[in-house]
Amino acid sequence: MALATEFVPLQLDRLRDTAHRMKDEGWRFIQTHAAYNEPNVDLYYSFMKDGNVVNYRIEGVTKEDPVPSITDIFLAAFVFENEARELFGVDMRDIAIDFQGGLYAPAETEPMRIISPEQKAQIEKARKAAAAKAAKAAGASEGAASKADAPAAQSSWKLSDEKRAKLEEKLKEMDPAKAAKVRAALEAKEAAAAASSKEAPSAAAASSTAVPAAKAGEASGAAQSPSPTENTAVGEALAADAPGRDDELEAKLALLGEEKAKKVRAALAGKPANVDATGADAPAGHAIDDAELEAKLALLDADKAEKVRAALARAASAVEGE
C-alpha cells in the first residue's frame, strides 16, 4: 500500500452530499482548509482510505456564498471551519462547535486575505511567465505535429477542446483587455488556417498526382524524396499560414506591457518603409535586421537604446569612410 494523492474539483452545492457519500463508503476525514485565490477563496476537503488521499477543491467561494458545515457528519472539522471563517472570511454555517469568531481572535480581520503589492506583482509576473511558457510549449508541440504531417497540420490548425479550455482558464486570470487581444489573435489564426484549408486539398491533390507521375519515372526515388510539384504545394500551404504567424506575434505582444507592445509594433511597422528606402538592389535581409534591431531596442531602456544607436552610427560612418 503506497500513498496516492489526487485533487478533484467539486461544486459547493455538492459538498454535503459528497461528505455523506465519503462517510458511507468508509473514508476517513483528514482536514479542511482554505486558500486565498484572489479575490475569492478555494476550499479543500481531504479524505483518506486505504492509502489514497482525495482532496476535493471548491474553487471561487465568495464572501457571500454560505458554506454549509460538515461537522454533523465529521465533527473533527469544527476547528478547521472556524479557522476558515476567521482567517479567510468564509461564511461557514451551522458549525457544531461555533466559536463565533473567537477561536484565534486575530488582530486584523481575515488576515490570510491580505497580500502586499510586492507579492502581488511577483505572482502576476510568475503567472505571465507560466502563460508564456505554456504558449511556447503549445507552439512547440504544434510545430512538431506540423513537421510530421505538414500539409495536413497547416490546413487543419485548430485548438483542441481540451487546450482551448486550458487556455480559457489562463485567460480568465489575465487582464481582460489582454485576454481579448489573445482571443482575437487566436480566432484570426484559425480563420487563416480555415482559408488555407480550401487551398490545401488542391495542394494535396497536386502532390498525390505528382507521386504516381514520379513513380512512372522512378518509383523508389519518388517514395523517399518529394517531387518538385509536391515541394511547391507544401510551400503554398506554408505561405498561406503567414497571417497566422502575425497572429502569434500579436498573441505574444498581448502578454507584454501595453507601452512595450506599442514600441515593438511601431518598430515592426517601419520594416516595409526600410525595404523601400533601401532600394530594390539592397538585400532584403538587411532591412529585416534593422527592423528587428529596432524592435529589440524598443524593449531596452531609452538610455541604453540611445547608446546602442550611437555605437551603430559610429560603426556605419567608419564603413562609409573606408
Binding site: Y36, S46, F99, Q122, A130
Partner: protein
C-alpha cells in the same frame, strides 16, 4: 440530582504543558459536556510561508513545535519535494527516518513522564525524563541540537551519520532498553497507576473511526491505521511493520500503545542502520514550484498523522502551506471521551491524547 454548573479547566493547569481551555459542564462531579477552546498561542506560521522562501520555511516548520520539530521539517520538505518532483537519495531517506524515529522515542518518553506527573508519581516522572536526556544526547552528537536540529533541507539532509555514530545509536538504545522496561513495568503493572487509568476515558473503536482520530489515541481504540504502514520513504524498506493496537480503548490502552511504540522505534532504527545504503545525502534543488502546482503529504508524527499541503505560484514563495496536526484532529475525540467521566479524571483523559497546542494553532 445536582445542579448543572460549568467548571473552567485551563488554560493554566498543572497537567497542561500548553494552553488549552475546556468548559466542563458538570453535574454531581460528572462531566456532561466538554467544550474545548484554543487560540492562546496562535502565531500565524502558515501565513509566514508568503514571506520566507520555500527553503527558508524548513526552519519555520521546525519551530512549529519543540517536540515534533524534526517531524515537521521532514514532512514539510517531503511535501515540497512532491510539489517539485524531486527524488532524494536513498541514504537521505534512511537518515530522515532514523532521526524521526529517535524523535518518536524522546516524545513518547517525555509523555510518559508527563503522565506520571499527572497521576502524582513524581519519581517515575524524573526517571522518564532522565532516560530521555540520553536520546537528546544522541541528537546533539549527530545534529548539534537538542530541540531544534536544522538538518533537513529540501532535497535531502545537511548532515550524515557515519558508521561509528550509528553503532553508538544502537549501543545507547540497547542500553536503555533494560531501564526502560523497568519504567514501563511501573506504568503498566503498578496498581495505583492502573486505578487512575484503567477503564477511564473510554472512546469506542467505532467512535474513534467516525471521529477520524489519529495516532496512538486512535490505535488504542483498535483503529488499524499508522501512516508508516503506507511505506513512504525508508519505511517501505522495513522487513515488516505492523501498527501497535489495543482493544481497551481507555487511558491505560493509550499508555500501553505509546510504551510499546518506543520499543518498535528502537527496532526500526536498528534495522535501518544495519541496511543504510552508501551514497549522497542530498540532491540540488533549483527553480521554484510551478504556478498553480499543488501537492499533499502525510507523515506519522509521534502524536499521529500530520497532513501537509503546499501550493506553488511560480515564485520561490509558496501561495499556501497547510499543516493539519494530529491534536487538532483529536480534539473532537477528546471532547467525546470526556463525556460521562469524573471531574477528577479530566486531567488524565486530556493528557492521554498527548495534546500539542502549539502544533494545533501554528
Amino acid at each position: 440530582m445536582g445542579q448543572k454548573s460549568i467548571i473552567p479547566f485551563g488554560p493554566q493547569h498543572p497537567v497542561l504543558p500548553e494552553p488549552l481551555h475546556l468548559d466542563l459542564v458538570v453535574e454531581d462531579e460528572v462531566v456532561l459536556e466538554a467544550i474545548p477552546q484554543i487560540g492562546f498561542v496562535h502565531r500565524g506560521l502558515e501565513r509566514l510561508v508568503q514571506k520566507k522562501d520555500y527553503n527558508q520555511f524548513v526552519y519555520v516548520a521546525e519551530r512549529i513545535c519543540g517536540i515534533c520539530a524534526f517531524g515537521h521539517s521532514m514532512g514539510y520538505a517531503e511535501t515540497i519535494e512532491r510539489l517539485m518532483g524531486v527524488e532524494i537519495p536513498k541514504r537521505a531517506e534512511y537518515l530522515r527516518v532514523i532521526w524521526h524515529e529517535l524523535s518518536r522515542i524522546h516524545s513518547h518518553i517525555l509523555w510518559l513522564g508527563l503522565a506520571a506527573d499527572a497521576f502524582g508519581h513524581e519519581s517515575l516522572f524524573m526517571h522518564c525524563w532522565r532516560l530521555r536526556e540520553r536520546i537528546l544526547d544522541l541528537f546533539e552528537k549527530t545534529t548539534g541540537g537538542r530541540v531544534i536540529f536544522s538538518v533537513v533541507k529540501v532535497g535531502g539532509v545537511f548532515r550524515d551519520i557515519d558508521k561509528s555514530q550509528l553503532d553508538e545509536f544502537n549501543h545507547v538504545l540497547e542500553g536503555i532498553k533494560d531501564e526502560y522496561s523497568q519504567i514501563v513495568n511501573a506504568f503498566l503493572n503498578e496498581p495505583s497507576v492502573r486505578n487512575r487509568t484503567y477503564g477511564v476515558g473510554v472512546l469506542s473503536s467505532e467512535d474513534a473511526h467516525n471521529l477520524s482520530m489519529v495516532g496512538p489515541f486512535a490505535r488504542a481504540s483498535a483503529v488499524n491505521y499508522d501512516v508508516r504502514m503506507l511505506g513512504n520513504g525508508a519505511y517501505g524498506d522495513l522487513s515488516d511493520f505492523q501498527p501497535i493496537l489495543s482493544n481497551n480503548c481507555d487511558c491505560y490502552a493509550r499508555m500501553e500503545v505509546r510504551a510499546a511504540e518506543v520499543v518498535q522505534s528502537i527496532e526500526i532504527i536498528k534495522e535501518l542502520s544495519a541496511r543504510i545504503p552508501d551514497g549522497e545525502i542530498a540532491v540540488p534543488v533549483k527553480g521554484s514550484p510551478a504556478f498553480g502546482s499543488e501537492a499533499c503529504n502525510v507523515l506519522e508524527q509521534p502524536r499521529g498523522e500530520c497532513y501537509y499541503f503546499a501550493k506553488g505560484n511560480g515564485t520561490k514563495y509558496l501561495d499556501r502551506m497547510r499543516m493539519r496536526t494530529p491534536t487538532s484532529q483529536n480534539l473532537a475525540g477528546m471532547a467525546v471521551a470526556l463525556k460521562g467521566c469524573d471531574v477528577a479524571d479530566v486531567n488524565m483523559i486530556v493528557l492521554t491524547i498527548d495534546p500539542c497546542i502549539s502544533c494545533t494553532e501554528r
